[in-house]
């Protein structure tokens, strides 16, 4: 048996995908023009799938801070903070993130993936119990593979399902850690956090919330779902990323636990990888200031959410369960989804393809992510494009609006 034989099924499925033309998993942007536009295949294309929630990738203050840092401290750190030491910028960023959440401690990681992988797999060990939502992100599942703790899944966004599992484990010794997400990355729905916290308190379980997609978007100050649900004090660990709302790359974890900093010398995903270049750190520090100084970006993002979500729903598309910065458009199957995606790209609109096994319940989705930088005109155009393709492909009934007008006339 060859090394690649085990991937035969994927190779076959992937071949099907590629025969439709463009490969949704290897899209090449010849030139990115702004947070909302790029040149793809020589065509000016609207980007609605880049997680650039506040549009900060081109924020002048963030860009200047990064450029300045490169001139002052060079292009990279060439090693981990354990081996090479921390730069002043790393420490300052950690203090600023901790202050943003009103927590005592913060650790910065080189990617958001590593933050989840490192923190979760290290917090629980042999004899402990790790409880995760069935629809958790890959970084959380990968953490499960790295820990000696026993891992139990509960049904997606279902506090009663978590309660049943914690009850069954009630007579078992060991710590319990429950992992939730502020906004789930595929369908864009949020955890019913208050209800989950009540269950966790009942059984004395620690709570970790991954706010990767909710930083900036949720909460009066943009701290995420925990702030919006009013339970930030009850969340023991908040994990997040710099690569979405903050427009760069990297991850973090904040906590009030007095022993939190020991993680720096036991978390392999922190210890054995190079630290972030200070240019990235500087732009993230500037972006965090923008998030706090310009709440109107959050308002604009949510205005855009309403425009797209309500607009697509009005045309008859089946969408994820709740409006949010991630809008999942359900399509009947993989082939329709990829055909639809391709037609949209030809029409100059880029979104993400999400098909099994990357999606929960085997659904096929066009995954759209909104930005405060989108204009209402861009989104109205996108709805028109999708409606046209939807009717052409038979996903939407032909001209439903005309019928409605006729009935009321």
């Amino acid at each position: 048996m060859g090394l690649f034989d085990r991937h035969a099924g994927i190779v076959e499925a992937y071949r099907d995908v590629r025969t439709t033309g463009a490969d949704p998993f290897q899209i090449r942007m010849d030139r990115v023009l702004s947070p909302t536009e790029a040149i793809i295949d020589g065509r000016r294309t609207l980007l609605v799938g880049t997680n650039n929630y506040f549009g900060l990738t081109y924020d002048p203050a963030c860009m200047e801070a990064a450029i300045e840092a490169i001139r002052a401290e060079g292009t990279g750190t060439t090693g981990s903070r354990i081996a090479n030491g921390s730069y002043g910028q790393h420490v300052a960023l950690e203090q600023e993130i901790a202050a943003f959440y009103g927590k005592k401690h913060c650790m910065v990681f080189t990617t958001g993936y590593q933050a989840n992988l490192g923190v979760i797999s290290t917090l629980v060990g042999q004899g402990d119990l790790l409880l995760i939502d069935a629809d958790s992100h890959a970084s959380i599942y990968d953490a499960c593979k790295q820990t000696q703790a026993e891992v139990v899944r509960f049904k997606h966004n279902d506090p009663a399902s978590l309660d049943a599992r914690l009850r069954r484990l009630a007579d078992r010794p060991g710590n319990r850690l429950v992992v939730l997400e502020g906004i789930y990355s595929m369908l864009g729905d949020s955890a019913p956090l208050k209800e989950f916290i009540d269950v966790c308190k009942k059984y004395g379980a620690y709570v970790l919330v991954d706010e990767a997609h909710s930083l900036g978007a949720l909460g009066a100050n943009g701290r995420g779902l925990a702030e919006e649900a009013g339970v930030l004090d009850d969340v023991h660990f908040v994990v997040g990323t710099f690569s979405k709302t903050l427009g760069a790359i990297g991850g973090y974890c904040v906590s009030n636990d007095p022993d939190f900093d020991v993680l720096r010398v036991v978390t392999r995903a922190y210890m054995f990888t190079a630290s972030l270049p200070t240019s990235i750190v500087a732009s993230v520090r500037a972006a965090l200031k923008v998030v706090q100084a310009r709440p109107e970006l959050r308002t604009r993002l949510w205005d855009n959410v309403r425009t797209l979500y309500d607009g697509l729903a009005a045309q008859g598309f089946t969408l994820g369960p709740m409006p949010g910065p991630v809008v999942g458009v359900h399509l009947p199957d993989r082939a329709t989804t990829i055909g639809f995606w391709r037609a949209m790209l030809d029409a100059g609109v880029y979104v993400n393809v999400a098909v099994p096994p990357a999606t929960p319940n085997g659904v096929s989705l066009l995954r759209c992510s909104l930005s405060a930088a989108h204009t209402p005109e861009q989104l109205t155009h996108m709805i028109d494009v999708m409606t046209g393709i939807g009717r052409q492909m038979g996903v939407l009934p032909a001209g439903p609006r005309l019928k409605v007008v006729a009935q009321h006339g």
Partner: protein, 124 residues
């Protein structure tokens, strides 16, 4: 009857907002798992029948599902659907199958043995 088990049976079904995400296959599973199995009467035959009932919608061949059926290979079911089915079986039998144990289960027989073992541990 185990009082804790009784209270579990009274738990509300998962939120309806989750329901819209379910495919037709999964909907069929949801309605098929409503029966709760009484603790005292868990026999191997009943567990096998319950598993087969969950898996039948995924059997696209004419071959009957038996104890030797390899779930991920012989049926048209992806890994995520298998894990979702396990969640339903967990609730039916009031057990939790740890993720590392899930990874070791390949056949219907192995799944039935796991359920019976965890069930016995809970009662023991």
């Amino acid at each position: 009857m185990n009082p804790a088990f009784g209270s579990h049976a009274a738990d509300p079904k998962p939120g309806t907002r989750g329901l819209i995400l379910r495919t037709a296959h999964n909907l069929a599973i949801d309605t098929a798992t409503l029966a709760q199995v009484d603790a005292e009467q868990t026999s191997r035959g009943e567990v096998m029948a319950e598993i087969v009932r969950h898996l039948t919608p995924f059997n696209t061949s004419d071959v009957r599902i038996t104890g030797a059926t390899v779930i991920s290979k012989d049926l048209s079911i992806d890994s995520l659907a298998i894990m979702d089915m396990m969640l339903d079986l967990e609730d039916s039998y009031d057990i939790s199958i740890p993720l590392n144990v899930v990874a070791e289960i390949h056949t219907v027989d192995e799944l039935a043995d796991t359920i019976l073992r965890l069930r016995a541990e809970r009662q023991g």
